[in-house]
């Protein structure tokens, strides 16, 4: 495994303000994630797992601290650069799949590629190849409402990796799935990880962390264990 640090987090703080009420969710976190690593973030509800992932994945802005992503201080990027960065370097898998309902499976996968300027024909071919790879060769033109939850999540993973991101973020990807579908999704993640994909996954189910290289355990906004053992 490559031992380069791809994400370096220093003194990360996230505080939410609701009027005069101040809620500190992340409290001066330090974390390194290596290139090619499959990291699970675990913790109880309200520990700050998702909040941590939103900060690293540029979906939210931390209150203070530093996130160095492959040598770039991503908190200094402009809004436009953040969008570009998310497109070129990151992939997302959301808990509720987050597929665009008007687009078919292949079109959902094509979308980030089109935004990167890849020709529509080539993007479609790539999308179909990925769908073939994940065993959904008969679902190219199905729209999300014509797919099961497990299938939607697989398409979501396919969309997240189609443009070869450096890091794939998965926010409780199995939360809405039954055991069989969950295993299929985890197998898929494992499959991409084996090809060298760095994955950061938030989960609260210990049994789904079997394929992870490392488990980070959060408690009350602090990382209490960098290599948590089930």
């Amino acid at each position: 495994m490559n031992i380069n640090i791809i994400i370096k987090i220093k003194d990360l703080v996230k505080t939410y303000f609701n009027g005069e009420i101040e809620t500190k969710v992340l409290k001066k976190l330090q974390l390194d994630i290596k290139d090619g690593e499959f990291v699970a973030i675990m913790g109880k509800s309200g520990a700050g797992k998702s909040t941590l992932m939103y900060q690293i994945s540029l979906l939210d802005k931390p209150t203070s601290g530093e996130i160095i992503f492959d040598g770039i201080d991503i908190l200094k990027l402009s809004e436009f650069e953040r969008t570009q960065f998310r497109l070129s370097e990151l992939g997302y898998v959301f808990q509720d799949y987050a597929l665009i309902p008007e687009l078919s499976s292949e079109e959902n996968i094509m979308l980030p590629m089109l935004m990167q300027g890849i020709d529509e024909k080539i993007a479609r071919e790539k999308a179909r190849n990925i769908l073939n790879e994940i065993g959904m060769d008969d679902k190219y033109t199905n729209r999300p409402n014509q797919l099961s939850g497990g299938e939607q999540q697989r398409v979501s993973i396919a969309r997240a990796v189609a443009h070869n991101p450096k890091v794939l973020f998965a926010d409780e990807p199995t939360a809405n799935l039954d055991t069989v579908s969950s295993m299929a999704v985890l197998d898929l993640l494992k499959q991409f990880h084996k090809k060298g994909q760095t994955i950061v996954m938030v989960t609260h189910e210990p049994e789904y962390t079997a394929n992870c290289d490392r488990i980070i355990y959060l408690e009350d906004g602090h990382i209490v264990d960098y290599n948590y053992k089930i």
């Binding site: 969008t83 070129s88 992939g91 959301f94 987050a98 079109e107 979308l111 089109l114 529509e120 729209r143």
Partner: protein, 445 residues
């Protein structure tokens, strides 16, 4: 960022925006699409139809004035003159000009019409009478020029071959008059029954110088009196026609003994291949303007009518403008609510790296699509249904038959305004929602 990169990014944003727009239209909520298109169609129609009918009202009035009274060119007496000098010379000139398709020479005289002197409900009162203008005409030439026979509501048209008959305007009769509060219309006038005409002289105001041609009864008139049979009742929305009576030239000369050949007005029509202005130029070459006032039909429009047209035009534009504002707000709200319900997906799109510009462009293009379809349907309804239908079935207004005037260029102009407003109304909500925090949109906080 270099200009080249900016250009490339814009192209990418446009392509992705187009990609999203097409699919959102194709697979989006059909009812929202129908609602937006319906709003746009109705807005377009209100923008065009309301001013079009208001303008059509006055245009219809002008047209009727032209067709039933003035002709394409209206030759009348000069100021301070009782008649057109050298009328017979003008007649000879008109006979030689190839561009003249028809003309009608009219003599005007004042008459007192008395009716109900044979039978009426109450013989303790005097027989009813009214003083008005009479048109003395050659029925055949008049009909060729103004198709007066088409406006006979009851009875028949006059003929030069017979005498002792009169046509009477419907406004003068109680059973048809809509102005009975302004004067006392005649009650005992029926087809085939007699009326007594007393000729009171030629010094009547010309048709265009007073409204409706209706006078308050004069004091006791002097002049020749004769009995005529009512042959027809003319119903026209041109006041000068419907509030006058018509008798033949032979009868007039026979009864009054009048030998003067100087008329009060001549209505002239030209062939279709030239304009009124060109025709006026041709006529003017012959020096007719030395003896008479020559006006095109448009120039002869009574001032109050052109004032009404101006007012209606302003009113129509005002109503259209208000309609445009209301519709743009409605389209804005509908698209805003539509975008708001899709806020999560807009957040996801931003989250996976789709640029805000692409998302805005997708809404912008959807707005253009809705506007084109809405306006397109509006144009089809306008020119395919409304204009031909109202041309066949004009709206019955007291002053004219209201048709729908929808000239091409003003219609295109209004369509373009609506298109631009709709594009903005579609673009702004998307811009507002795209600006919201990505995570808040995804989590719908």
């Amino acid at each position: 960022m270099s200009l080249l990169n900016l250009y490339k990014n814009n192209i990418k944003s446009f392509k992705v925006g187009k990609f999203l727009a097409i699919r959102q239209i194709r697979h989006g909520n059909i009812w929202i699409s129908i609602l937006i298109i319906t709003i746009l169609t109705l807005t377009f129609l209100s923008l065009v139809v309301v001013p079009g009918i208001l303008i059509g009202l006055t245009k219809g009035s002008f047209q009727q004035q032209r067709e039933q009274l003035t002709g394409d060119l209206y030759i009348t007496t000069k100021q301070y003159k009782d008649s057109i000098e050298n009328t017979q010379d003008i007649k000879r000139i008109l006979d030689t000009i190839p561009e003249v398709s028809s003309y009608s020479i009219r003599y005007k005289t004042g008459v007192k019409v008395t009716s109900g002197y044979i039978k009426r409900d109450d013989f303790t009162n005097d027989a009813e009478n009214i003083s008005i203008s009479a048109f003395v005409i050659n029925p055949e030439k008049e009909d060729k020029t103004t198709s007066i026979s088409n406006f006979i509501k009851e009875g028949e048209m006059l003929s030069s071959d017979e005498s002792g008959y009169v046509l009477i305007g419907s406004t003068l009769l109680k059973k048809y008059s809509k102005f009975s509060d302004l004067f006392d219309p005649l009650e005992y006038v029926n087809i085939g029954e007699p009326v007594r005409l007393t000729f009171t002289g030629e010094n009547r105001p010309s048709a265009d110088s007073k409204k409706g041609g209706i006078d308050v009864p004069d004091s006791i008139n002097e002049g020749k009196t004769s009995e005529f049979i009512v042959k027809g009742i003319i119903n026209s929305k041109v006041g000068d026609v419907s509030s006058s009576i018509f008798i033949t030239e032979q009868d007039y000369r026979h009864i009054t003994g009048k030998r003067s050949l100087q008329a009060q007005e001549i209505a002239v029509n030209h062939i279709d291949s030239i304009s009124d202005k060109e025709f006026k130029k041709i006529i003017s070459i012959y020096g007719i303007s030395d003896y008479a006032k020559i006006r095109t039909a448009e120039e002869a429009i009574p001032k109050f009518l052109s004032d009404v047209q101006r007012t209606f035009s302003i009113l129509g534009n005002l109503i259209g403008f208000v309609g445009l504002i209301v519709s743009s707000i409605t389209v804005f709200i509908v698209i805003y609510i539509n975008a708001l319900t899709r806020r999560k997906f807009i957040g996801i799109l931003k989250g996976i790296g789709i640029s805000g510009a692409s998302i805005e462009i997708s809404y912008f293009l959807q707005s253009i699509f809705y506007a084109i379809i809405g306006i397109g349907i509006g144009i089809l309804i306008l020119y395919g249904i409304l204009v031909p239908f109202l041309a066949q079935n004009p709206i019955d207004f007291p002053m004219s038959d209201g048709v729908l005037i929808a000239d091409l260029w003003p219609t295109i102009f209004r369509a373009l305004i609506l298109l631009i407003v709709t594009m903005l109304a579609g673009f702004l909500p998307a811009k507002i929602i795209v600006k919201k925090n990505t995570l808040d949109s995804i989590l719908q906080r």
